[in-house]
């Protein structure tokens, strides 16, 4: 059972992102459910992760895969009942696994009772729960986020004969956070789940809570005030609860969501992620080190959240035009892979199913400063299906075995919520948990070892980072330190073997112990430390002075 | 009386015959050595002639100015001359060897002196040849440099260089041969000094305008020249 109010637990966590619908179908209706998820908690525990992030499971018309919520305090009937969720939560806690859930603060489904009331008449008490306007000319400074599908941030409602504000899909009207009643009700929602025992929330679409004229309606001071208020309540009433911000912004704007340690505990480092892919393909560490050098210091109690892929497209909003063009040309030559200034593909297909590249990317994920998040299925190298609409191609059923429906469900294949991946390269007969569990050298086995080594020291989660700048720009090297513990990480981003000389004079006298095999490497002396590395190889060295 | 004379005569003749019989083998040896020497010297001359017939040597000789010099002196070409020198040096050497076989007292010293002289002679010839070659090369280089630098008295410069190098060469040859070293040193010094003095006077009188122009240019005085475009060959 994890300690409930342990401060800073999230700094050493390793998070596994799951969508209930995609994971395991226990009642054979073709859709994953909480009973199924509960049955698979052993797998999650054996993987070595200690936190699950659940994507939205609330009642919803499912026009945005559950991010259009029509009831905040229940469980969608397709996934089970609230009791099933409680059982799942208790079982997870018994295995020492924490659970954080989604909390979509910014908007609801247009089928939510609040909106149905709000739109019913201008005099309705809940009218002011959403942002209405007689014209679509307000807030011109705000950009459109879903460029591929939306033409405007305003949508005309024929029932109330007015426009309503929506930063995402038109069926997702924005809540009006200038209304104290809204803020209070959302806190009640959060309380509901905290009372059940969840360990934290991923707060979706945080930057867009407040709108003001002559601004871009993002990251406004009022938004931060709302977050601070939430944080204060959480700390007072549910200490140890973690709040994770989803804010796709530049580092300087992102850092504001930490406040002075009085806003979010964690935030996704969106700008870093595409640059990891860029650096790997350019075979140049420059994009990675530069974005981290530009990232300001964050309060000691806060933590970045790092990820390679997730349920959304690989966002290219926080890159320059040159960088975006490069990423498109390299990673999404087929234009159908592109969506909303991003690329909707999974990790393995993006990396051409190259085992070495997959490993080094996961190695960086686990060793750069931040809490890593693994998207379900990436630990076995699942593929994607770009022919499914929107981002559904990366949300296909988990592949458990080579049998019926990939072991996901005993239902008829035609009744599955989504077809599984079938091609010979990524299909469930080639890529599945069962076969990889039986192979010592499978990706899954390797990921377990990686996670195990990561968890063997707190230095990765809580330590400082100092970049080395060897003259060989293909090598990304940095030192992580926490107290007396020092770890040297060296990554060869090149597809060819490389030689690199590292200036480790500060650590003269230390011997290097490679952390996976625990073999000893030569002692550091005054001369530059020469390493030769194979293609895409990486080393984690613990420094010891004996 | 007659018997005594006849007896003495017979004894004298016998003595002569004995002496003759004693020296005859040595004379025969000498003649044989001289003959063999002639054959070898002739062969050397033929070999030398064919080696020196290569175009490179005659070109070198032309460049050294030796061809011209020999023509003016009504001497054969440099390759023929060298071949003949080789012939005579080789044959004289064998003749001396042959004569030394006679065992004449005091002659060995002259023979050894001759053979000791040979290397110096060879070095001297080499120095002479390459000295004239250098004189020709550097005088032409000086001529070309002076012409391209638009110096008026370029021929004078060229000849001066040739003369200086030639004098150096000749004095070195004489020194190597060990001929009148002291006299040569003084003569060389005198000649060289006189040459320098002559050049100084010539420059002082004839080149004063040039010097004036040079100084004016360096010190920035004098008539400002109209700016002209320079040629950029490339």
């Amino acid at each position: 059972m994890p300690v409930r109010n342990q401060p800073g637990w999230y700094k050493d966590a390793i998070i596994y992102q799951i969508h209930v619908r995609t994971f395991f179908d226990a009642n054979n209706d073709g859709i994953g459910d909480f009973q199924g998820l509960t049955q698979k908690l052993d797998y999650v525990q054996q993987l070595g992760v200690d936190t699950i992030w659940l994507m939205p499971f609330f009642p919803s018309p499912l026009r945005d895969d559950g991010y259009d919520i029509s009831d905040y305090t229940s469980v969608h009937s397709r996934y089970g009942a609230l009791e099933d969720f409680k059982t799942f939560l208790a079982t997870a806690h018994d295995r020492g696994v924490r659970v954080i859930i989604e909390m979509v603060l910014n908007h609801t489904s247009d089928q939510h009772p609040w909106f149905l009331e709000s739109r019913s008449s201008r005099d309705n008490p809940k009218r002011d729960w959403y942002v209405w306007s007689d014209t679509d000319a307000r807030y011109r400074g705000a950009r459109i986020i879903f460029l591929d599908t939306e033409m405007s941030n305003w949508a005309w409602d024929p029932i109330s004969k007015a426009y309503y504000w929506h930063r995402f899909f038109s069926h997702q009207p924005d809540l009006n956070y200038d209304n104290p009643a809204v803020r209070e009700e959302m806190w009640n929602v959060m309380k509901f789940w905290l009372d059940l025992g969840v360990d934290g929330f991923r707060l979706d679409a945080v930057p867009y809570l407040i709108e003001r004229e002559e601004t871009n309606c993002e990251n406004l001071p009022e938004t931060h005030a709302i977050v601070r208020d939430l944080r204060k309540r959480v700390d007072e009433q549910y200490p140890g609860t973690m709040l994770l911000a989803e804010a796709n912004q530049w580092p300087a704007d992102l850092c504001q969501y930490f406040g002075e340690g009085d806003e979010f505990h964690m935030a996704f480092h969106f700008p870093l992620m595409p640059r990891m892919f860029m650096g790997l393909r350019l075979e140049d560490r420059k994009p990675i080190t530069e974005i981290l050098q530009q990232t300001p210091e964050i309060p000691p109690s806060c933590q970045w959240s790092l990820f390679l892929r997730n349920h959304d497209e690989l966002t290219l909003e926080m890159v320059t035009d040159i960088e975006r063009d490069y990423m498109y040309d390299i990673y999404a030559q087929d234009k159908s892979m592109r969506l909303n200034l991003g690329i909707r593909r999974r990790l393995a297909p993006l990396l051409d199913n190259d085992r070495r590249r997959i490993e080094i990317m996961n190695g960086m994920l686990m060793s750069l400063p931040g809490t890593p998040i693994i998207y379900y299925g990436d630990e076995i190298g699942m593929g994607d299906n770009i022919y499914l609409g929107d981002r559904n191609g990366v949300r296909t059923p988990m592949q458990w075995s080579g049998g019926w429906n990939g072991g996901f469900s005993a239902a008829d294949p035609e009744s599955l919520y989504s077809p599984p991946i079938l091609n010979p390269v990524y299909g469930y007969q080639a890529v599945n948990v069962l076969s990889q569990n039986r192979t010592h050298h499978s990706l899954l086995s390797w990921m377990k070892r990686l996670i195990s080594v990561r968890r063997s020291t707190p230095v990765f989660g809580s330590g400082s980072i100092e970049f080395l700048h060897p003259a060989n720009h293909r090598v990304l090297a940095y030192v992580r330190q926490l107290g007396k513990e020092t770890v040297l990480v060296v990554n060869n981003l090149s597809s060819a073997a490389q030689a690199v000389e590292l200036d480790l004079g500060r650590y003269r006298g230390n011997i290097l112990i490679e952390m996976f095999g625990k073999n000893v490497f030569p002692r550091i002396s005054d001369v530059p430390y020469l390493l030769t590395m194979g293609p895409y190889q990486f080393y984690w060295f613990r420094l010891r002075r004996i | 009386m007659r018997e005594i004379i006849v007896t003495e005569l017979i004894q004298g003749l016998q003595e002569m015959a004995r002496e003759f019989a004693h020296y005859l083998p040595r004379v025969i040896v000498m003649l044989i050595v001289v003959f063999i020497g002639w054959v070898i010297a002739y062969l050397l001359k033929v070999i030398m002639r064919s080696i020196l017939r290569l175009p490179r040597f005659s070109k070198l000789s032309d460049n050294a100015g030796a061809t011209e010099l020999l023509k003016q002196a009504a001497l054969p070409s440099s390759s023929e001359l060298l071949s003949r020198v080789v012939f005579w040096v080789a044959w004289v050497g064998f003749i001396l060897l042959g004569v030394s076989a006679l065992g004449i007292v005091g002659f060995e010293e002259y023979t050894s002196r001759f053979f000791l002289f040979l290397p110096r002679l060879f070095v001297g010839i080499v120095i002479l040849f390459f000295g004239f070659l250098a004189a020709g090369f550097f005088s032409r280089a000086a001529l070309l440099a002076a012409v391209n630098a638009d110096i008026r008295s370029s021929r004078l410069v060229s000849h001066t260089v040739r003369i200086i190098i030639s004098i150096f060469t000749i004095s070195m040859v004489f020194e190597v041969l060990g001929v009148a070293e002291g006299t040569l040193l003084i003569a060389f010094g005198t000649a060289f000094g006189a040459l320098m003095l002559a050049l100084a006077i010539a420059f002082g009188i004839g080149g004063k305008d040039l010097a004036k122009e040079f100084l004016e240019r360096r010190l920035g005085k004098g008539k400002p020249k109209e700016r002209e475009d320079e040629l950029f060959p490339l």
Binding site: I322, N472, H473, S494 | L144, S154
Partner: protein
């Protein structure tokens, strides 16, 4: 491997850190502090603008500069070490410098750069002159693109010239390369050019780097190697070229680097060029040749006097080199007044060919032969400038074309005197 003795340990270490590249920019330098920053910034801008995704490196081969030139070159590198004056670039750009010797030697500089290009597997190697005060960023693209993208092996420049510039190019090098090698390259001696990895490796591996003429003038040797090796050659119009190097007016140095190297190339390539009877055009990428029509202000009298003086003083030398007829013709025109002075194209061609033949036969020291051409070239330059003083651009071009025609017409004569004993 030839580069073993060319790469110092320190340089090799730097190259290891650079790794494989797509584009290598070579910068031979010697005391170019006055122009080098402009040049390197133009190169950097050219890379960032035209080749932002490609792996590039600047290699500076320095011949013992004492004015801080190498430091200025390496200062233009772009890496991830944070600095306030950051230029945005997708990739790291290395700028690496090495001192190949304590005095400048063009052959060794080029060889060092080619060795680095070979080691780094550069797809294209572009050489830029360090004294190009008028260089533009798009010069890089104009030179690189034909080789990098369009499969040419050698991209040579064409500059916009003033009337009194490039006289050696127009009166000897271009027409001679055209007539001898059958290839109409306007600037066979180029200080800015791009070569493919194929040509660079082949040229590097040729056994000619110890020859004096190649050490002095590797550029001509490269051009002739490309022509004789049937490599694909093109020309790219770059723009105005300003001369800042004081040695640019040194005629004898220019003759050695160009005419000497060209004459030296004829020996080994005789079997090939002796069979060529006509010339072929070379593709021109972007633009045309241009000559600016400004007036000329040359000291004609001095030129004429240097010519006449040269003919007179060097007569003993010319007797080795020229035929009696040609020498007599030269004496005849040397006696002409300035107003009547003309050095006819036909006589000039004979002069050049006889010099080339004498060079081949080494009638005298080869360097002396080259130097002896100096006064005669001045006479020809004077005559040429008189012919084009009031001419339009088209007329100048026709004049050059006529001279080229003369060179081509008299090639049989050249073949005749090639082995004729002097």
């Amino acid at each position: 491997m030839p580069e073993e003795t060319l790469l110092s340990d320190d340089f090799l270490r730097q190259l290891i850190n650079v790794g494989e590249v797509d584009i290598l920019i070579g910068l031979p330098t010697h005391n170019n502090a006055g122009t080098i920053q402009q040049v390197t910034h133009a190169i950097q801008a050219g890379i960032l603008k035209c080749f932002p995704r490609d792996r590039a490196v600047i290699i500076n081969a320095d011949g013992g500069s004492r004015d801080g030139t190498p430091q200025m070159v390496t200062g233009v590198s772009i890496d991830d070490v944070w600095s306030a004056s950051k230029v945005y670039a997708l990739r790291t750009l290395h700028a690496v410098s090495t001192e190949y010797g304590s005095s400048p030697e063009p052959g060794r500089a080029l060889r060092t750069i080619l060795a680095a290009a070979d080691l780094l597997q550069a797809k294209v190697c572009v050489i830029i002159s360090a004294d190009e005060a008028t260089i533009e960023p798009d010069w890089l693209q104009k030179l690189v693109k034909p080789v990098y993208r369009d499969n040419f092996d050698l991209a040579l420049p064409i500059y916009q010239r003033q009337r009194f510039e490039g006289l050696l190019m127009r009166n000897v090098l271009y027409p001679m390369v055209r007539s001898i090698y059958g290839c109409r390259v306007r600037e066979p001696f180029a200080s800015d050019f791009a070569i493919s990895s194929r040509l660079a490796t082949d040229f590097l591996n040729q056994d000619l780097w110890n020859q004096d003429w190649v050490r002095l003038g590797p550029e001509i040797s490269l051009t002739t190697a490309a022509i004789t090796g049937s490599y694909r050659i093109c020309q790219a119009f770059l723009g105005v070229r300003a001369h800042t190097d004081p040695s640019a007016t040194d005629l004898i140095l220019a003759l050695r680097r160009t005419v000497g190297a060209l004459f030296a190339s004829l020996d080994a390539n005789f079997p090939m060029w002796s069979k060529i009877s006509s010339s072929q055009p070379v593709p021109l990428i972007d633009g045309t040749c241009a000559i600016t029509p400004e007036a000329i202000n040359i000291n004609r009298e001095r030129l004429r006097d240097m010519f006449a003086n040269g003919v007179s003083e060097l007569d003993p030398v010319f007797q080795y080199i020229l035929s009696p007829q040609t020498l007599a013709d030269l004496h005849r025109i040397a006696a002409l007044d300035l107003n009547e002075f003309r050095y006819p194209p036909e006589l000039w061609v004979r002069t050049v060919f006889e010099f080339a033949a004498s060079f081949h036969q080494s009638v005298i020291n080869r360097d002396h032969i080259i130097q002896a051409l100096g006064p005669l070239f001045r006479g020809r330059a004077l005559s040429f400038l008189e012919e084009i003083s009031d001419a339009t651009e088209e007329q100048i071009e026709m004049n050059v074309e006529r001279l080229c025609g003369e060179f081509e017409r008299l090639k049989p004569y050249f073949l005749k005197v090639w082995n004729e004993k002097r």
